[in-house]
Symmetry: C2
Subunit: 129 residues, 2 copies
Amino acid sequence: MSAYDNLKFNSEGLIPAIVQDAASGRVLMMAWMNRASLEATVSTGKTHFWSRSRKKFWMKGESSGHVQIVKYIAFDCDGDTLLIQAEQTGAACHEGYRSCFFRSFEDGGAKARVTEKQLQTPEEIYGKK
Amino acid sequence: MSAYDNLKFNSEGLIPAIVQDAASGRVLMMAWMNRASLEATVSTGKTHFWSRSRKKFWMKGESSGHVQIVKYIAFDCDGDTLLIQAEQTGAACHEGYRSCFFRSFEDGGAKARVTEKQLQTPEEIYGKK
């Protein structure tokens, strides 16, 4: 049985993919894949996703250069979530942080706290708009 | 601004929550929360979710005893995914594995491979059905 046969894409044909830094274990981001972006991820060894807001197939790093080299693709017991271990170049987050999860709950959610250093500004990554 | 004000629940009132072992960094599972389950998670310090299949509010470990003690709740740049660091008692997976992500792609997805030892059978956890 192919690994793909275990997967359940949702009614929009999408599956969430968690990307984790293979070296540090830091969870970097979560984004959505369709079957084509998963196949491109497998065949090229670089993560590809489906943007729900832009309705667009995209390769992580295509604008920023911050590509993710895939080391390992796992899927969960229900087959409805992927976990990808990758080598991250630069910042995973479009806001210039290593991880998209750079803010956390503080005081029982009364406040949010930034827990990471910003590596670059979005302007430094993408240029001025 | 409250941390909650940064969050975007989807059209069903849900947000995905990635649970990561606080000690090892292993990603254990991904499940969905509504506002009430997130508030219960914050107030009790144990993870609570919303089951989309059973349409039911549930505490992780309520049947199995495999509770998750919350150490840290982060959210991503778009505010549409949570990352929870927790101390896991026993197996996170209802199939008896430490992590739900116990299978991985092999040979470019041609096969799936089990990468973890099963700690308990489901019958040992939940009793015979």
